[in-house]
């Protein structure tokens, strides 16, 4: 029981760390594209990325489950080519969480980039720098508060995820069972004591994380001033 409690928490954090890391790598290029592209179809991408914020998690979970199924081309391709089965597995959970937390990583970074004066990137290009050099050396270092907000929100949101994980993970102890689902499970089994422990830990961690962002961003709000 005790070791199961710890395993569940470890899986919860492993999922959050991997999801955040993947989203950080994937999210920055997407955010930069959305911030600077003048393509008129960009709104479609923006709408799709923001959808997980308003869509019931079970809807996303349902579609993912269908996509993961060996009867569907994505699922069957992954299974035949790489022998990966995403449904009811930890990797499937990571894919689901990445999609579900996409807006939490992208929106803060995108708006951070859009709020920088355009003369910064223009100056960098008149100084002979490529777009990538500009992003890496000028733009990203000047939106640190947005980046930290994005990372912490993604992390906290993945920890707090319930619906998608339940649909595609299936609550397998030691594999796909995360804390938020464990609480629900324990309550149903009338183990209020264990549920209480899980709940308190999630509550405390989420509170501390958000407290940290607000403290950091308050200190740093003065670091960037338009001249």
């Amino acid at each position: 029981m005790n070791s199961e409690f710890i395993t569940t928490l470890l899986i919860t954090f492993k999922l959050a760390v991997i999801t955040t890391a993947v989203l950080f790598v994937v999210g920055i290029p997407i955010a930069a594209y959305l911030a600077f592209s003048k393509n008129k179809f960009k709104v479609v991408a923006e709408a799709l990325i923001t959808m997980p914020m308003v869509l019931p998690p079970s809807v996303l979970g349902y579609y993912l489950l269908v996509a993961y199924s060996p009867d569907f081309f994505i699922g069957s391709f992954l299974e035949s080519a790489f022998n990966i089965r995403l449904a009811f597995s930890f990797s499937g959970l990571v894919v689901g969480s990445v999609l579900f937390s996409l807006p939490f990583m992208i929106s803060p970074i995108q708006s951070g980039l859009q709020n920088l004066p355009s003369s910064l990137s223009e100056a960098s290009s008149t100084l002979g720098k490529t777009k990538l050099q500009t992003l890496h050396r000028v733009l990203l270092p000047n939106i640190k508060p947005s980046i930290i907000t994005a990372i912490v929100l993604t992390f906290a949101h993945t920890i707090g995820e319930f619906g998608v994980v339940l649909m595609i993970g299936g609550n397998i102890p030691g594999e796909t069972r995360v804390a938020s689902i464990a609480i629900y499970d324990e309550v149903q089994a009338l183990n209020f004591d264990t549920a209480n422990k899980y709940a308190f830990i999630l509550f405390a961690i989420t509170f501390i994380l958000l407290l940290l962002i607000y403290t950091f961003n308050r200190k740093n709000s003065s670091s960037w001033k338009p001249f």
Binding site: P117, S119, E122, S125, T126, L127, G128, P141, F227
Partner: protein, 293 residues
Amino acid sequence: METLLIEANFRKKLFTTQGEMILDVQFSIKKGELVSIYGPSGVGKTTILRILAGLTDADEGEVIVDGETWFNSLKKINLQARKRPVGYMFQDYALFPNMSIKENLKFAQTEQDPKHIDELLTLFDLKELQNRKPTMLSGGQQQRVALARALARKPKLLLLDEPLSAIDPAFRTKLQNEILEIQRQYGITTLLVSHDLPEVFKLSKRVIMLEAGKIVKQGDPFEVLGSKRTSGKVQFMAEVLKVESEDILKVLTLLSGNSLVKVAVRDDDEQQYQPGDKVVIITKAFNPVIQKI
């Protein structure tokens, strides 16, 4: 014959607060020349600089710099901004807040040349500030950094957008002298946007006067801007600060430039002065006292 550095001829539709306007200009600039673009705000001065730097695309036309085509709408040539060897000084300076002054200058160099950076830091009196971040600097100091950074990559063409607008008058003169000195030392062809007349007179031998997107006149600043103004009278623009009545006279306290002047006027019902009124002080110029400062 002196060689031409820039041959420009382009058109662009602009959307301004007054509505649509067609920027339609044709000009050439000789190697090593310092030319001002003068005109009221919103006539397309900055857009000309941006088109030369490749930050804005012209709708049609051609820009040739040093024999190389940077832009040609017919041949669909448009050299990327980062490949154009220009030094651009932005109106908001666009210094990178995450880098120190020295790092800002170093970032500007494709090939590192610490000696040149050192020279610039000394020239612009930035030695002691070199490790500070731009946000710790005053407006005038930031402007100097922006100018130094534009020069750090040894550009063929220097484009300055209102370079000295935020600097107080005393320091402005010093910086104007520095710009002239750099111009003399490095011989960099410079195009400067300004709406400040004294600056145009002081810095440039040639001015391009822009009105509503068209070049209305160009040439020697004294001929272009002076002809109408040269007269037997001295004129000052001033603002009325205070009106006091004394018997049959009224005493106006006026602010002209940075100096306060008291002028007595007839207490005339037709001419009512109120604080805030803009006035012009005119005096005959045959006998003014002129002193060197």
